[in-house]
């Protein structure tokens, strides 16, 4: 079958391209321009070439922030994806319970990031917060302003509370889209609950699961507001992720050149991971396309 090439369709994406050019491409070009120059204020810039990139790539501070960011994203994914999947599997498929569960699941997603940060900053405090006070009462030394472990636990629980719902809703959408005929066939074959999950539900949900993984990875990899509000990157630099470090460098220290170089590196890492996920997600499409030829 010869695929039709309709060039008119290209014009339909032109407005979106124009919008992206103004909101993303032009600012990105400016950041690249900043990344190869130094400024001493008064809007005067001096060419330094790749010096800022060299400095950032060899800086222990960048390596540490990058590793913290990777560790945070990996932990988030390891908790939120299985948990979201388990909740979606245990949610009712019909009746009043569906609406109740969906509303409950959607609630955390409606709360703005800075409000979530403020809620958890208060909730985890030892003096007035329910979580911090309770843990302290149980004899656990939980002080996220002084203890790095407590700060990490607070941020991870906060993110799990805020974003697991997204995974649940995506998985649930994938689950209810499975035609009942699959379940009927499995029942006739006497398939166990595990076999139904492994050979019907999981393959059918693979696409939404990958979208969930991609969204959660990108969001957690670029997280800024919540750790900034809860811990401010501390104690010490224990929760200084790439984004927090970047803002400190750009706005706190006004090191525009190094901050711009760091932004470009950060951007390239995000693009690489997005491309990897996109490639994995669309890999089967090519096989189907080839079979249709």
């Amino acid at each position: 079958m010869q695929k039709a090439h309709d060039h008119k369709a290209l014009w339909l994406v032109a407005p979106a391209l124009l919008l992206v050019a103004f909101t993303a491409v032009i600012p990105l070009m400016t950041v690249v321009n900043y990344s190869v120059q130094d400024t001493f204020g008064n809007n005067q810039f001096f060419w330094v070439g790749a010096e800022w990139y060299r400095e950032i790539l060899r800086s222990d501070r960048f390596h540490a922030a990058f590793l913290r960011q990777i560790a945070f994203s990996a932990t988030i994914l390891a908790i939120e994806i299985p948990l979201g999947l388990a909740i979606a599997l245990s949610m009712p498929k019909k009746g009043l319970g569906v609406s109740v569960c969906l509303v409950l699941m959607a609630l955390p997603l409606l709360i703005p990031w800075n409000v979530v940060g403020t809620i958890w900053q208060i909730f985890a405090r030892v003096d007035i917060g329910l979580l911090g006070h309770t843990l302290s009462g149980l004899g656990i030394d939980f002080n996220y302003t002084q203890n790095a472990g407590a700060a990490w636990v607070t941020l991870i629980i906060m993110d799990v509370w805020h974003w697991t719902s997204l995974v649940v809703l995506l998985c649930y959408a994938g689950l209810v889209a499975i035609p009942p005929a699959y379940y009927q066939a499995a029942r006739i074959d006497g398939a166990s609950r595990w076999a139904i999950f492994r050979y019907i539900e999981l393959p059918k949900m693979s696409r939404v699961l990958l979208i969930a993984v991609l969204l959660r990875f990108m969001d957690s990899f670029m997280i800024y507001t919540e750790p900034f509000v809860v811990t401010g990157g501390g104690p010490g630099n224990a929760t200084t992720f790439l984004s927090v470090d970047l803002v400190k460098m750009a706005i706190g220290q006004f090191d525009l050149g190094p901050a711009a170089a760091m932004s470009v590196i950060y951007f390239l890492i995000v693009i690489l991971v997005s491309w990897a996920f996109y490639t994995i997600m669309t890999r089967d499409d090519f096989e189907q396309y080839r079979r249709s030829q």
Partner: protein, 95 residues
Amino acid sequence: MDLSWMTWTAPTALFFGAIGTVLTLMAGLYFLRPNGAEPRPGLFFKLATTRGDRLFISLLGSAFIHLAWLGATGYDLKWAAAISLVYAAIVFRWG
């Protein structure tokens, strides 16, 4: 139009100009030879790639080659550019 706020330099203008030219050429090629826009299986991980995919993989890979070169060695970036060109040629031929 005053573009001084973007703090343009000649090398960055050349860089973005080159990328813009390549994208324009690719768009022109799409109209002239639309078959190149069809995916074909490559040798690397059996990935199916279109001509645009191969350009993207070449550009992204070249960016990381330059970053790795900068981070690992103190030598001139011309070597990284040479490696990137070889890499791009391999991707376009076999990728």
